[in-house]
Amino acid sequence: MSAAILVRVQTADFDVGAELARLEALGGGGVASFTGVVRGGGGLEALELEHHPGITETMMARIAGEAAARWPLLGVTAIHRHGRLLPGQRIVLAAAASPHRAAALEATSFLIDWLKTRAPFWKKEHFADGTSRWVEARAEDDAAAARWEGGGARTGETAER
């Protein structure tokens, strides 16, 4: 199965409905997605996302390609924003289309786990009191990403009806 891979790094917002419609149109039985949103609270005023412009898209494409190699996918989409984002705004979209719902959902989970640990983005929190702080990497994210180290996929065999 050859997957249509779409990867984008941008400052602009993205249209989740339009992105998922593109995946729905590939003819599979299902499309899974995860959208990350800036959480407010704690006096957070804005989140600043820095990235390594020279290699970000290459690494995101590699992660998407890895998902397509592990699961029977018709399409994979990974979009990540950078720059200054406000609470409630979208940060990232990971999505996958497949004839098998388990494959679509597991691939989406894999995509977001690896984007969090293998794509060169860094978050800085800016607070209303004028202070700011780099977000620290979390051991929990490394553990989530490590679940997929084995290289396997646990996909059902039968397509959706």
């Binding site: 990350g36 996302l49 820095e50 969090k116 794509a119």
Partner: protein, 85 residues
């Protein structure tokens, strides 16, 4: 040997610049040795690399470990663990 270094996030801020060209001596053969050599400059460099466990590197378009050789590398990025997604 001239190498273009790129710094990101907390490391970029501590050093106070996002890129520079350096020419380490021949005995600086690995990423870890390069970081040691930079940290020995003191000041912002020492601060940037104070916690070696929180330094990551990329050569070309791939992440590499501290033991990765730097021979032949034209561009090396140094940064904290990533926190995107």
């Amino acid at each position: 040997m001239a190498i273009e270094l790129l710094y990101f996030a907390r490391i970029r801020e501590a050093i106070g610049r996002s890129a520079e060209t350096v020419s380490p001596p021949a005995e600086v053969a690995t990423v870890a040795a390069l970081v040691d050599w930079l940290a020995a400059r003191g000041g912002g460099y020492a601060e940037a690399f104070a916690d070696r466990a929180r330094v990551r590197a990329a050569i070309g378009d791939g992440f590499v470990g501290p033991d990765a050789p730097i021979a032949g590398a034209r561009e090396i990025a140094l940064f904290p663990p990533v926190t995107g997604g």
